[in-house]
Symmetry: C2
Subunit: 498 residues, 2 copies
């Protein structure tokens, strides 16, 4: 395999969308299941999700939320209670109508025992939580109620794509209730900050915090906030959302509390979530034409050690050296966790093994042959660097620098993505410039916007361009709308998006 230039074919520049599928296949992250739009998440992909989950769960608990588990099924009648919510989700709901199978005359299994009321497979749990909150909340002493849930979600997907759009996906959904609108808004923005930091510090994925337009907000929300990331093709990916639900759900589900004065009031609620979509974002932020690149903080393995023995007479000693090195590495910690390292002793060609782990994106690859063994050295390649770039360190030197080396890789990936985002972002001053901009290249176009939903629809329909958000960092920056000429317009970010 040494004559190949890249492990992934096609390359990003040849066919970005197909490249994405091939990275997933090469890194063995997931595959399409034979069930419409569903995926099987394979061990390497699921290990990424476990690391996302355990680290984010810690942040969610540190901000005083408690985990619960609510039912998968939602009665249709719950769904009917919030009008916007229905119309937003009705088109993509899987519906359970029977609770038994029977064999018919032709020997085929058919649904039997129809339900009195059909059940929806949860596309999100505001309604279930709403019903429970109404039972749990009595007085202001019960507030804030801060709940989170890790669960599977079903939204029937017409154009499925692994990790980005799947009929079933995994996520966390936070649901909270507060005494005042201000408290709810603060919670909404607090969790947006948690998502921002998690995306940037763990996934090394730069994101922009902003507010969605009316057109793009969550069905049933007063306002939706989001983090938006830029993929390597310049398209945007909505990576997480945090919704201020106001009193919409508390009125629909009658969630009331007695305030300190003894008066009944409706609570103010929020909800917020991120999903396995983050893995899609991770792939498209960092990976290259050799396959996946994983930031150390969520890498299933920080390093892999390959004994290169060629049936050498010192073969056993080399293997022992590798195992000892691995154990020394495991005794070190990176961000409070033991270094995760594997010695790959599989009976395969060393070149094949090297490519295998490169495609999987392991941050550090260590090759130990007779020369390294004799010199007590470590021959090292970093996944964030070209494959022919190598380092030869003494074992001691390597072990001493290991945690900071991983940190450097983490930072490099972030800075590289940040730089890419910067280079593909532009502040647009006129409508002509706007359309030109999307003719020639992808990326984020910042501009003043005071248009309406109809104009937004038109841009989406004719050019495939959507407003990703009104960025919070530009909230003080006002100017003349380039489309309508209206003054005092806010800054919006336009982009094509996943």
């Amino acid at each position: 395999m040494s004559d190949k230039k890249t492990a992934i074919s096609p390359t990003r520049s040849e066919n970005y969308s197909e490249w994405y599928q091939q990275v997933i296949r090469a890194a063995e992250l997931a595959e399409s299941a034979p069930i419409h739009g569903c995926m099987i998440i394979k061990p390497w992909g699921y290990a990424l999700w476990e690391n996302i989950q355990s680290n984010l769960d810690k942040k969610i608990k540190e901000t005083n939320h408690e985990n619960i588990y609510c039912p998968l099924f939602i009665p249709i009648s719950y769904f009917e209670k919030e009008a916007q919510h229905i119309s937003g989700f009705a088109k993509e709901c899987a519906v359970v109508t029977h609770h038994r199978l029977e064999v018919n005359e032709e020997g085929k299994l058919i649904p039997a025992a129809p339900l009195e009321e059909p059940l929806i497979v949860r596309p999100t749990s505001e309604t279930t939580m709403g019903e429970a909150f109404a039972r749990w909340i009595h007085s202001y002493r019960d507030l804030p109620l801060l709940i989170n849930q890790w669960a599977n979600i079903v939204r029937w997907e017409m154009r499925p794509r692994l990790f980005l759009r799947t009929t079933e996906f995994l996520w966390q959904e936070g649901h909270t209730a507060h005494e005042t609108e201000q408290d709810a808004l603060e919670e909404t923005l607090r969790m947006l900050d948690v998502y921002e930091h998690f995306a940037q510090d763990y996934l090394a994925m730069p994101v922009i915090k902003g507010m969605k337009t009316e057109n793009e907000k969550f069905p049933g929300a007063v306002s939706t906030y989001c983090i938006e990331a830029m993929m390597q093709d310049g398209k945007a990916l909505q990576a997480g959302t945090s919704h201020l639900l106001g009193q919409n759900f508390s009125k629909a589900f009658n969630i009331q509390f007695l305030n300190a004065k003894g008066e009944k009031e409706h609570v103010w609620t929020t909800s917020w979530g991120v999903s396995t979509r983050l893995i899609g974002g991770l792939i498209m932020t960092h990976s290259d034409d050799d396959g996946l690149i994983v930031p150390p903080r969520i890498a299933p393995l920080h390093a892999v050690i390959l004994p290169v023995t060629h049936q050498h007479k010192a073969s056993e000693a080399i293997h022992a050296y590798c195992e000892a090195l691995a154990n020394e590495m495991r005794s070190l910690t990176y961000h409070g966790q033991p270094i995760r390292v594997k010695v790959d002793t599989k009976d395969k060609n060393p070149g094949e093994k090297a490519w295998y782990w490169r495609k999987k994106g392991v941050p550090l690859r260590i090759e130990i042959g007779p020369r390294e063994y004799e010199a007590k050295n470590v021959f090292l390649k970093q996944r964030d660097q070209a494959n022919n770039q190598t380092q030869n360190l003494s074992k001691e030197e390597f072990l001493n620098s290991l945690p900071s080396l991983l940190d450097t890789i983490q930072k490099t990936l972030f800075e590289r993505a940040k730089q890419f985002q910067k280079e593909h972002s532009k502040f647009i001053r006129s409508a002509n410039e706007f359309y030109d901009c999307f003719k020639n290249q992808q990326g984020f176009a910042y501009t003043y916007w005071a248009g309406d939903g109809a104009l937004e629809d038109q841009l989406k329909k004719e050019y495939g361009i959507t407003i990703r958000c009104l960025p919070l960092s530009e909230s003080e920056n006002k100017g003349q709308c380039i489309f309508t000429g209206k003054p005092n317009a806010k800054v919006a970010i336009f982009a094509k998006a996943y």
Copy 2:
């Protein structure tokens, strides 16, 4: 509340089944959802599940299994491939028949867009895994394939009971494929051992390993092994199962491999699982008439500290003392994890708070009033002891003994349950003795059994007695069947069961 004798009403002896419900309510573990047979697992209950999950997951990974995630939905046609499997699960399958909702003329939401092939909501994933394994396995080099999944499961439940029988529950399901029957059998028994140790070492729940009869085995299995526990009413609880599936699923799903000689063979598979049912078992093994008792190794909190200040002038200093004590405790570890402790500063009556935490089963309750504060002492109550049994220790003494104190509680709970099981188990020598035994008391009846499935059915129907297992520890013990008089019969354990 100080005049009450027990926190839970009715007591175990008054009405065991209602007591169980009331413990769940008092400890705020879970509640019935308004969806048929489903439950909402509340924070305290879910924290138990998280501790079960994280500890068991470690054992599953230590035995070289990798986690994946397979789809929630299973096409009916998959299910049709294994005849025993269908007939075992057909009666309890939730079926998705539509993938959209529409508003009808009366303004009601109704299912729309019927699916070409209805989907089953997974009652277990042998079929999905079978389809994937057939794609993943090519040669003996791909074996053994050792997979696990944490997921939600749906089996339509006619007589639901929180944690014990719910329409939806959470579980892990292991699925493995092997070259030989012997390898598969070893895996089946290895995971049974993992379950045994987990139940005994973490849940402090003594279990008996055994094999199920033909009547009681998993639909599609060659043989089913189980761990059986005894609840405080003498009834049995099947707490985990491990199935040798032979080549039943590999033939149904055509999972073949090329052996070392280059010949095609069908793999040998296993599957094994435990579920949120373990929480039901935990409750009924240890809890008393004051509520839940949780073994330290899976307790969400090891200890709670209650400042008892009565608006005392030293109130602030007492609170500071409590926080400092909590921090000192957190710097200690118990089985490799920091001690989990909470200072309950809620503005509530101290007696009420004490009962609150006693009902929740926290192993250690520490009360710090002016006297303890001044003497730098710790006033301590153990949940495994009567509420009027107390200890007064110097802070230093307490901190020094804390990990071993928790270990003692863990062991006490196990020994107590083990003793109960012993006292309620009997070796039966005749049919008369057998029927008498179940007239007067509950418990496990060991006896020689060589009956058939019809006799087993009759015992179940007429007396509600089932064979829990043929215990592995008695596999060499043979004698004359007390029902049929046949010689050389194996020992079976009979009991009423959940």
